[in-house]
Symmetry: C2
Subunit: 109 residues, 2 copies
DNA sequence: AGTAAATACAACTAGGTAGTAATATAAGAA
DNA sequence: TTCTTATATTACTACCTAGTTGTATTTACT
């Protein structure tokens, strides 16, 4: 296992940061069903073409998605479904956090 | 399980974003051994007091750490060790990504 | 009271980044 | 070739945030 040392912290942070953007999470979710073109992704997420393309570059560079070119079309797909495990973990944390906040509110009444 | 819909994407992204900063990862790593004060954390991570304090607020607000006050000292601790599961997942992805890049380099020779 | 220590907060700066509009590039079709 | 389609890139704006400095707040000690 990689240690969370100074040198690695930046690289790891970069990977987390790539997921720290709503649009990129929506893109990953849209890609969950399978390979998808930029245009389709823009339509599904409601984002602009340029913006979607730029976000896909980030996900590509961080290795979350792969790309396959066919004519003028770029087909993107999830590289490793493990991403969704992370999303589930963070979702679990979210729910626990909400519970915690609810309890705090109750105890303050 | 929470769905990755438009409404949730922002909340989830916020949680990822909180981990997308080297200093905050270093703080979590430092807290791994156990409860720690702000001063100790600043010393261990080499960060300034104000900066460390500010990063801890982010981790606190996102529920990654808890705080306990004692005199003028604030003691911080990990709320849920699941965070490190996420770090391991992202580390695994990092290694796979490096492998992928190495293969690409070799195949391009 | 006065002083020191620990933390939080406010103000500021510099660098980063999301979103958009316009343009560039590339591949087909007419 | 010219037009159209799909994607990537550039330039720009507006906003956000990490880090720093200085200060306020709180507690403990003499």
């Amino acid at each position: 296992m990689i240690e969370l040392s100074d040198t690695n912290a930046s690289a790891i942070a970069e990977r987390f940061k790539a997921l720290g953007e709503p649009m990129r999470l929506l893109l990953l979710e849209a890609l969950r069903r399978g390979e998808c073109s930029v245009g389709e992704l823009a339509e599904r997420t409601g984002g602009g073409q340029a913006n979607v393309s730029k976000h896909l570059q980030v996900l590509l560079q961080q290795g979350y998605v792969d790309r396959r070119k066919e004519g003028t079309t770029s087909w993107y797909r999830i590289t490793d479904p493990q991403v969704f495990k992370m999303c589930e973990l963070v979702c679990g944390g979210l729910e626990e956090d909400l519970d915690r906040r609810r309890k705090l509110l109750r105890s303050r009444k």
